[in-house]
Every structure is written in structure tokens, then in C-alpha cells.
């Protein structure tokens, strides 16, 4: 049997939740997180995802999240047990070297520390994605990956280091190559994800981020010169300098985040368009302006509700992603067999520890 994307019925992927329905989950999560001093956050995340996944319909069937708070908590404990001695060691070693005046050795230890953190961040990114796919079900089929992510960690470290050597000018090539490596190892059921993402169409937006600080300084200087020319006395000069600082700072704090958002908007659109799963193709249509509205809305919501709105950030972000996502093509549901990948047991411990997202 072939189930095509039912174009006649509208979107093949849609979000069916609403904020009132989610309110009891959000409120009880906040309450329990507070009274457990944060420990409940793993269970809260599981409940949130169970709701969000169940309100996401893909070609007429709901997604299902099967991850549990317990496994995320255990994953966190394991990672803590692995990382804590490492952190404690560094915590003592670094000041001990400093106290003995061994500045170079202390610097070396710090570099090694950051190399290790970078490697583990790569591993964490990979494993977080694998974990999420392995706990995502659709029509009784789940996703996953056969790779544990250790190789990916190495690739991540190498590519970030190389990109660093180019003063991050090569970032678009790095980010897209890593995206490909990550997704090409992922599968859903018997189908493999494929991505052909490259830096095409992303370079200009990256340069914009790069040029933003220079542009800010340049604009500031021009502004100061104009102000100085208008009032060629000492007071005019001081005014010019003050104006310049204001312009530079404003452009810096608004310009760089905006340029970054501009880059990510395109990055996500391109990334989604290059992903295929069997005969299924994906798409994503959120513009910079829509992303900006999402983030400003999140902040406004948190402010207006005196912080409670934070509990809705995950909801709003997920709804945003789903509403802007597209799915085309067909899926042969008879041929789409169960995933044979190993089910990871350690949940998102590493990603959680380094505070990074999955996609």
C-alpha cells in the first residue's frame, strides 16, 4: 500500500495543539520543578515532549514520544559521574599550576580541557539527535542510528579547529559538512536519511555576520566625523565621540544577533530542503522576520507573565518548527519496516550536560 502526502487534505505535517490544552502540563511541570529543586526537569521534559509529539500529525497519523524522565535522569547521572572527576581534577590542577607560577602549563591544561569539551560537544550533538529519533514513533515505527557518535565527535573537533584556523570564515562549509555527516547516519525505520546540504547560498549571509562588527565601527566613525564637522569645537568633538560609542554599541547588540538570525533562517531552510527519507522530501519556510517574531514573542511572554511564560518556550518553538515544515512525496508503508538500530539507553545526558539542542 502506498500512502501519498494527502495534498487535498492540506498539509502533510501539522501541529494540532493549543495553549489552553497545554496549560495543565506547563503549570504542574513548573510546580514540580520548583519543589524538587530542579530534579523534576527531566520528567517535565518528557511530559512536554509527549504532548508536543502527540499533537504533531504526519500524513494523518500522530507522532509519539516514548522517552521517559527516568531514563533522561539516569543519563544525566551517568554523564555527571563520568565528567565530575574530570571537572574536579581540572578545578584543582589549574589553580595549582597557577599558584606555582607555571603559566604555560596552566594554559596547556586549559587548552586540553577545551579540546576535550569540544570533542564531547560533538558526541553530545550526535547522540542527542540519535536519542530523539529512537524515541520518536510514527505508525509503530521508530528512528535511530547505528553509529555511537564517537567518530562524529572527532570529525566535529577537526572541522571546528580547521574553521577556527580560518578565523571562522569557513564556518558555512564546516556547519553544512557536519550537518550532512550527522544526518547521513540517521534513519527512520528501514529508511535512511540523506542530506546533500552544502554552503551554496549561505556564504553571503555568513559574511554579513562577519562584517557586522566592522560595519558598526565604520558607521560609528562616520557618524562621529559628521557630528564633529557640524560642531568644530571641543564640545562637538566630545558629542561626536559619545555618539559614536552609542552607534557602535547599538549596532553591535542589534546588528550581530539580527545577522545571526538571518543566517540561521536560511541555514534551516536549506538544510530541510536537502533532507530526504526514501521518497519523502522535506521543506522549511520560516523567514528571518518570522524567527525574530518567535524570539521576541518568547521574551515578551516571559516578561508579561513574570517568568511563567518560560514554560511555554518549548511549546512555542516546537509549534513554530512544525508549522513551517513541509513534507512532499510518498512513503511505502508496507516497505517501511521496523528500525534495526540499537536503542540507546543513556538518553541525552551528554547533550544535557553541555546544554545543546538536537537539530
Amino acid at each position: 500500500m502506498i500512502t501519498g502526502a494527502p495534498a487535498a487534505q492540506g498539509r502533510a505535517i501539522r501541529f494540532t495543539g493549543n495553549w489552553r490544552e497545554y496549560l495543565p502540563i506547563a503549570a504542574t511541570n513548573v510546580l514540580l520543578i520548583i519543589v524538587t529543586l530542579g530534579i523534576y526537569r527531566f520528567w517535565a521534559a518528557a511530559r512536554q515532549r509527549r504532548y508536543l509529539w502527540s499533537r504533531t500529525e504526519v500524513i494523518g497519523d500522530r507522532l509519539e514520544w516514548s522517552g521517559t524522565g527516568k531514563e533522561m535522569f539516569i543519563g544525566f547521572l551517568i554523564v555527571t559521574l563520568v565528567l565530575l572527576p574530570f571537572f574536579l581534577f581540572i578545578q584543582f590542577l589549574f589553580p595549582a599550576l597557577l599558584a606555582r607560577g607555571k603559566i604555560e602549563a596552566a594554559g596547556g591544561v586549559l587548552v586540553l580541557f577545551y579540546v576535550a569539551i569540544l570533542y564531547l560537544s560533538g558526541v553530545a550533538l550526535f547522540r542527542a539527535l540519535r536519542y530523539r529519533l529512537s524515541r520518536t514513533w510514527w505508525r509503530g515505527i521508530r528512528g535511530g542510528s547505528d553509529e555511537p557518535g564517537w567518530n562524529y565527535g572527532g570529525e566535529y573537533l577537526g572541522r571546528v579547529a580547521l574553521s577556527g584556523m580560518t578565523l571562522f570564515i569557513a564556518w558555512p562549509w564546516m556547519a553544512t559538512a557536519l550537518f550532512r555527516s550527522r544526518w547521513n547516519e540517521m534513519s527512520f525505520g528501514s529508511l535512511k536519511f540523506r542530506s546533500t546540504l552544502d554552503a551554496e547560498g549561505l556564504k553571503r549571509r555568513w559574511m554579513l555576520i562577519y562584517l557586522a562588527p566592522f560595519a558598526a565601527v565604520l558607521a560609528g566613525i562616520l557618524f562621529a566625523m559628521a557630528a564633529g564637522a557640524a560642531n568644530p569645537d571641543a564640545e562637538g568633538y566630545n558629542l561626536g565621540i559619545a555618539m559614536m560609542l552609542v552607534v557602535v554599541i547599538v549596532l553591535f547588540y542589534i546588528g550581530i544577533p539580527l545577522a545571526t538570525l538571518h543566517w540561521y533562517a536560511k541555514y534551516y531552510r536549506n538544510a530541510a530542503e536537502t533532507i530526504t527519507l526514501g521518497d519523502l522530501e522535506f521543506g522549511f519556510d520560516a523567514t528571518t522576520w518570522q524567527w525574530l517574531k518567535l524570539f521576541l514573542g518568547n521574551i515578551a511572554l516571559a516578561v508579561v507573565t513574570l517568568g511563567f511564560g518560560l514554560a511555554y518556550w518549548g511549546y512555542r518553538n516546537w509549534a513554530f518548527m512544525v508549522r513551517h515544515m513541509h513534507l512532499h512525496g510518498e512513503v511505502n508503508v508496507t516497505a517501511l519496516g521496523q528500525s534495526t538500530t540499537r536503542v540507546p539507553t543513556e538518553a541525552e545526558g551528554f547533550a544535557d550536560a553541555f546544554d545543546i539542542g538536537a537539530i
Binding site: 511530559r47 509519539e64 554523564v79 565528567l83 595549582a96 599558584a99 521508530r142 508503508v333 521496523q338
Partner: protein, 355 residues
């Protein structure tokens, strides 16, 4: 008989199934693929339950899903297992009761965590603290100013303030001058007191330095250093680990800080010490007054004696008020020793390589 959606977990094909109640805790499922199967509630879990549907999964059969439309017949619902709502025992106890119990535990943990350093610090053996301190600082390697006259003078100052304090033993205070150009002194785990070169260079009056060292001795004697160590590595760290992330803690290299109460206590002790030793407290007061004027912005109180928190002025006042016009004060050190101390870090003789 109830009709349900059914997935077998082998492929993504959607089947139907007929479901009937087979017993008080069992159901009979007849899918459109394969034969009928009677299932006990123990073999099933409710994966999700909301106003629209009830999703049942089967143990040991990944992807096996029976999806019933709501409302589910009450007799059938009773034959199925319960829903996991909040998770674990919270479901059994009830949200209200569980929240109260958890809030109580959280309060107790916070209270213990907050006060733990105060009652743990006194019972930490000094030898243990000394080992930790030595592991962290050793003998300061190349940073230490190794002028024998300078070291002797620093020890003489400690002896003047706290007779017998530098004698070898568990409570020996070890003082050193470090070749670091900041105006500061610090108490460090292992009963170490360090005075930085910047403080020696800029001090005009040795009696002011005596006030500073007296304050640091108080931190050591009152075990404020141990307290800070416990606070940094103890239960507080554990709570922060859960509330935040390990990553956030990674950057935080040991930075011990004393509480305001610690500082007040050390000041009071220093005043008493100066009085006992017959040293004029006014130079110390003058130093504080000068610093409170200079201090702008907030400095990191980590291991710092002269931090700029707003109490600087009040602290100067406390020292000034302790001046007794009828008392007979003697200089902290004789002129020759004072000179040796202040020049402890001047052109330090080349230290031997290694630690």
C-alpha cells in the same frame, strides 16, 4: 466489541483490531492481520491518554500499538493499566500531597546545604585541609619571593600578632610573599597566608600591614577557609548541578569567597589581636578609608582581603574606634625587620628550578 487502530511494529501498515474485555484485567485483541490474542493488563502499558485517544503498547513488542478512540468504554478502560501522568510515585500519592512532601524535603535540603559549611568546617581535620591546601598551592614555585630576610620578617610579624603561630605543628601558620603586583593579601587552604608584592611595595606603614595579616590569621583560625572550601565543593555544588548544567560549572575554576559574616568576624578578631599585641589600629583604619575612596566597581571577593564591597568605610570606622588614647602602642616591627619585610620581593634571588 470495540474497533481500534492497530500497528504491529513490523512495518508502518495501519491495521484495525477488534477489542473485547476478556476478564477483569485482561482483553482479547483480534487484529485484521494475524490471529486473536488474549492479553493481561500486566503485559500492557498505556503510552498516552488524552481526550481524543488512548494509546496502548505491549511489553517486549516494540511498535505494537492499539489506538482506541475516546471515550473508551469504562469496563474496557478498567481492564487496562493506569496512566502515567506525572511519573512514578507522584501518580500514586497524588499531585497535591506529593508537592507538599517534596517542598518539605526541598526546604530541608536547602537549609542543610546552606548551613552545612558552618558545622562541617570545624570538624574537618587540619591535617586533611593541609593536604588539600598543599596540593593546590605547594610552596608557590616561582611566584614565591625567597629572600631569607624577607621570610624571617614576615614570620616575625605573625609571631608578634599571634605568639607561637609559626611553630611547626598542626596549627602552624605559613606566611609567604608572592611576586604578584596587586595590592592584596589572602588566606589559602592549609593555613597559608600570602602577601602580594604590590602590598609590600605600596605600604608606607608596617602597622597597616599588621592589621591585614591579623585579619588573615583570623580567617585561618576561625576556619573560614575550610568553610569556603566546603561551600564551594559541597552540597551547594550538588544543587547547582541539578538546577543548571554541568557545562555551566565547567568554567568555574576554584574561586573561594568568604561571607560577609566571615569578614566581620575576622575584622573583630583583627582588632582584638592588634589590641593584645599593642599595635596602633589607626594605620589599618587609614588604609581602609583610602581603599573605600579608591574602590569603584565590584571586585571579586575570592580570597581577597581588601575587597571593595560597600562595607569598606564602616570597616575603617571599626578599626579607628578601637584606638585607645591612653594605651601605649609599639611599632609592629623594628625598623630593620620592617625594611626587610617590605623589600622581601625586591630583586628576588633566582629561585632554584622546580618545585
Amino acid at each position: 466489541m470495540v474497533r481500534a487502530k492497530f500497528y504491529d511494529g513490523i512495518n508502518a501498515e495501519r491495521y484495525t483490531a477488534e477489542v473485547v474485555v476478556a476478564g477483569p484485567h485482561s482483553i482479547l485483541v483480534t487484529p485484521s492481520v494475524g490471529g486473536p490474542v488474549e492479553l493481561d493488563a500486566d503485559e500492557l502499558t498505556v503510552a498516552d491518554e488524552d481526550k481524543q485517544q488512548l494509546v496502548v503498547s505491549r511489553r517486549g513488542m516494540p511498535g505494537w500499538r492499539l489506538i482506541l478512540d475516546q471515550p473508551v468504554d469504562p469496563e474496557l478502560r478498567a481492564a487496562l493499566p493506569g496512566t502515567h501522568r506525572y511519573g512514578g510515585w507522584i501518580d500514586r500519592v497524588g499531585l497535591g500531597k506529593a508537592s507538599l512532601v517534596l517542598a518539605g524535603i526541598a526546604g530541608a535540603v536547602l537549609l542543610v546545604g546552606h548551613t552545612a559549611p558552618l558545622w562541617i568546617a570545624p570538624i574537618v581535620p587540619p591535617s586533611w585541609e593541609r593536604n588539600v591546601g598543599d596540593a593546590i598551592v605547594g610552596d608557590f614555585g616561582d611566584l614565591r619571593c625567597r629572600s631569607p630576610q624577607g621570610e624571617a620578617a614576615l614570620n616575625a610579624l605573625v609571631e608578634r600578632l599571634d605568639p607561637g603561630a609559626t611553630a611547626p605543628g598542626a596549627s602552624q601558620i605559613r606566611i609567604a610573599a608572592l611576586d604578584v603586583g596587586i595590592f592584596n593579601a589572602a588566606a589559602i587552604p592549609g593555613s597559608h597566608i600570602v602577601v602580594f608584592k604590590g602590598a609590600l611595595d605600596e605600604t608606607k606603614d608596617v602597622d597597616a600591614l599588621a592589621g591585614i595579616v591579623a585579619h588573615e590569621i583570623a580567617h585561618v583560625r576561625r576556619r573560614h577557609v575550610t568553610e569556603a572550601l566546603v561551600r564551594e565543593l559541597g552540597i551547594g555544588a550538588l544543587i547547582r548541578t541539578f538546577a543548571g548544567s554541568v557545562g555551566a560549572n565547567a568554567e568555574q575554576v576554584v574561586g573561594l569567597s568568604f561571607t560577609r559574616a566571615n569578614e566581620r568576624e575576622a575584622d573583630a578578631d583583627a582588632i582584638a589581636t592588634l589590641k593584645r599585641a599593642g599595635i596602633d589600629p589607626r594605620p589599618t583604619a587609614a588604609l581602609f578609608a583610602k581603599l573605600s575612596k579608591e574602590a569603584g566597581g565590584d571586585s571579586d571577593p575570592a580570597l581577597e582581603f581588601l575587597d571593595s564591597h560597600p562595607g569598606s568605610k564602616a570597616r575603617a570606622g571599626n578599626f579607628a574606634r578601637s584606638y585607645d588614647s591612653k594605651a601605649i602602642y609599639r611599632p609592629a616591627l623594628d625598623p630593620a625587620t620592617a625594611k626587610a619585610m617590605l623589600s622581601a620581593c625586591v630583586a628576588p634571588p633566582k629561585a632554584p628550578k622546580g618545585n
